[in-house]
């Protein structure tokens, strides 16, 4: 990571009795694509509004390039925001919307003309300069909003659910465009999203938030493969939570669950500690016979590249495992499940975590 452009240090914010942010600390590097990911109400939007200057933290500091932003009004911050609703000015045409920030900076007529044309071209809107906002489609509005926010060359662009209002197909296309534009602009992008796929697809690093706190900050692969908490594992992607007791034997470690022994990577937890192993369905090997934990196929869902199986391995434990393309299993088939040592992420037992993870397997 480059020297931090944005430093958020111990920021807390309450709305009445509701805690929106609790002791949040984050750093975003120059040119980085950063995602704030979490369910609605986790504080990600509040944090973004604090960076833009629409809310002020109760405590803690937000600094840009080492300069404390507290008390700096939104219109003096070198940070621009793309609003979830786009918030395009209905009384101005596309050109004037994009030029709005440049005019406020007092740039010359020629400079404004050149910059707006450049952005119109970049967002494939070259022929739309004179269109009124209500003449645009959803995707076009989204691009105007992006161009308008980028026009004044902000040090950092904040994007509030930028793809939320687009349909599925357009969303994927726009993800690529957004990544490309970010690469070309070399500007830091901070995106707020509740969509894990969006965060994984776009961001260099992701902060997963829950209830006003940051649960984990890491790259997409690490978030996916090595979630730090049970919440992160359950929120990002599908997973199995396997509870058991840790057994350490020299360098090797294993989790002893009621239905068998699952090898796992060395860790800091003491021998005999209660722990949870999060294993992604596609990391579990499925075979008809041989080594591994025995189970019966209870149900399956064909998903194209994989087939998701629900395999009962104990009276009250069902695991989800993804069988590769071409492997066919029928309901009631006996299977063997194998776990490579690096398949799972070992999570220390957290008090009060049970039942919180709706998306996770039981």
């Amino acid at each position: 990571m480059n020297a931090p452009l944005l430093s958020i240090t111990n920021v807390s914010k309450k709305f009445g009795a509701v805690v929106a942010l609790e002791d949040v600390s984050l750093h975003v590097g120059a040119g980085e694509f950063f995602a704030l990911l979490g369910p609605s109400g986790c504080g990600k939007t509040t944090l973004m509004r604090c960076i833009a200057g629409f809310e002020s933290p109760d405590s803690g500091t937000i600094a840009l390039n080492g300069l404390d932003l507290s008390g700096v009004p939104p219109y003096r911050r070198p940070v621009n925001m793309m609003f979830q609703s786009y918030a395009l000015f209905p009384h101005l045409n596309v050109f004037e919307n994009i030029a709005f920030g440049l005019r406020r900076k007092g740039e010359t007529r020629d400079a404004i003309e050149a910059r707006v044309s450049e952005l119109l071209a970049m967002t494939q809107l070259s022929n739309f300069g004179h269109r009124r906002i209500d003449e645009l489609s959803g995707g076009q509005k989204q691009r105007v909003a992006l161009a308008r926010a980028l026009a004044p060359r902000p040090k950092m662009l904040l994007l509030d659910e930028p793809l939320g209002a687009l349909d599925r197909k357009l969303r994927e296309e726009t993800q690529f465009q957004l990544k490309e534009i970010q690469r070309l602009m070399q500007t830091s992008f901070v995106i707020v999203t509740h969509d894990q796929d969006e965060a994984l697809a776009l961001a260099d690093r992701i902060a997963v938030m829950r209830a006003g706190r940051v649960e984990q900050v890491a790259g997409p692969m690490e978030i996916y493969d090595k979630p730090a908490t049970r919440f992160v594992a359950g929120f990002v992607g599908e997973t199995n939570f396997i509870e058991g007791r840790l057994e350490r034997n020299g360098g090797a470690a294993a989790l002893v669950a009621e239905f068998g022994r699952i090898p796992c990577e060395p860790c800091d937890l003491p021998d005999g500690a209660r722990a949870t192993l999060s294993v992604r369905p596609e990391r579990i090997g499925v075979a008809r016979e041989g080594e591994g934990i025995a189970g019966l196929v209870e149900n399956f869902v064909f998903r194209g590249e994989t087939t998701l199986l629900r395999v009962r391995v104990a009276e009250n434990v069902v695991l989800r495992a993804a069988a590769g393309y071409g492997e066919r299993h029928a309901i009631g088939d006996p299977v063997r499940l194998s776990f490579p040592p690096d398949a799972g992420a070992l999570l220390a037992e957290e008090p009060g975590d049970e039942g919180r993870n709706e998306r996770a397997a039981q």
Partner: protein
Amino acid sequence: MSARRRLSLGERLVIAAPYLWIGAFFLAPMLLVAKISVSQSALARPPYRPIFEFSDSLADIWSKAQNFTLDSYRALISDTLYVESYLSSLTIAAVSTLITLIVAYPFALAMARAPERMRPILIGLAAAPFWTSFLIRVYAWIALLKDEGLINNALIALGVISAPLQMFATPGAVVVGIVYSYLPFMLLPLYAALERQDPSLREAAADLGASPAQVFLRVTLPLSREGVIAGALLVFIPAVGEFVIPDLLGGSETLMIGRTLWNDFFSNHDWPAASAAAIALVALLMIPLLLWERARLREGERAQ
């Protein structure tokens, strides 16, 4: 467009009802006034000729119509009293409208930005003056403005002035009366326009570097244009023809067309002149309305 469908009798009646209403209670009296305006003044009862009778044949009506004259309209232009009355009415109405707008805008803004549960109460308060008689409220201003009125007495007691200011019976008093009386008509359309505005537009403008003053001038104000125009028309049009306020507060010095018209009608018994003045006033007031309509239509076409 969907295919045209034949309307049932009931549907036609429903659509026709407002037109019938306007025809019977607006258009017909208007035509009557127009007819009187081209008649000749006479010492008679009613004081104009020709008079159509129900027994007139079409030929009678035609021959009587030969006597129609534009004398009353010519008088409107040649008689300086009328010209001055019109100009003074337009000036007083325009100044009043502008002041009403300036006074109402901050109120409307405060109402639109108030917490949501407060807004119905504030709207109720804005409409509260309607609960008492308009006439009584205008009379109350006499007590405030006259030489030994509340304002002068207070200022003298405070030592700000030694002799009472002449406020009552001036054009200024008429402006004050109009601004006070018509404030709700400006306030409500402004409030409606401001309340509709998406707050994120102001945030977006601030985010793009607009100071609070620029946010107001570049976003809030232009987006409230419809409300400003609607409010201005609702104040300006009745203010031009206002009779009660200049009669009560304006004194004999303040010329306004409503009073001139009233004098012609009731004191001079010159019905054709008064009718011509009324028709000319309607024509005069149609101009801004038509211009506004045209601008709206053009905008609508551009939006297509």
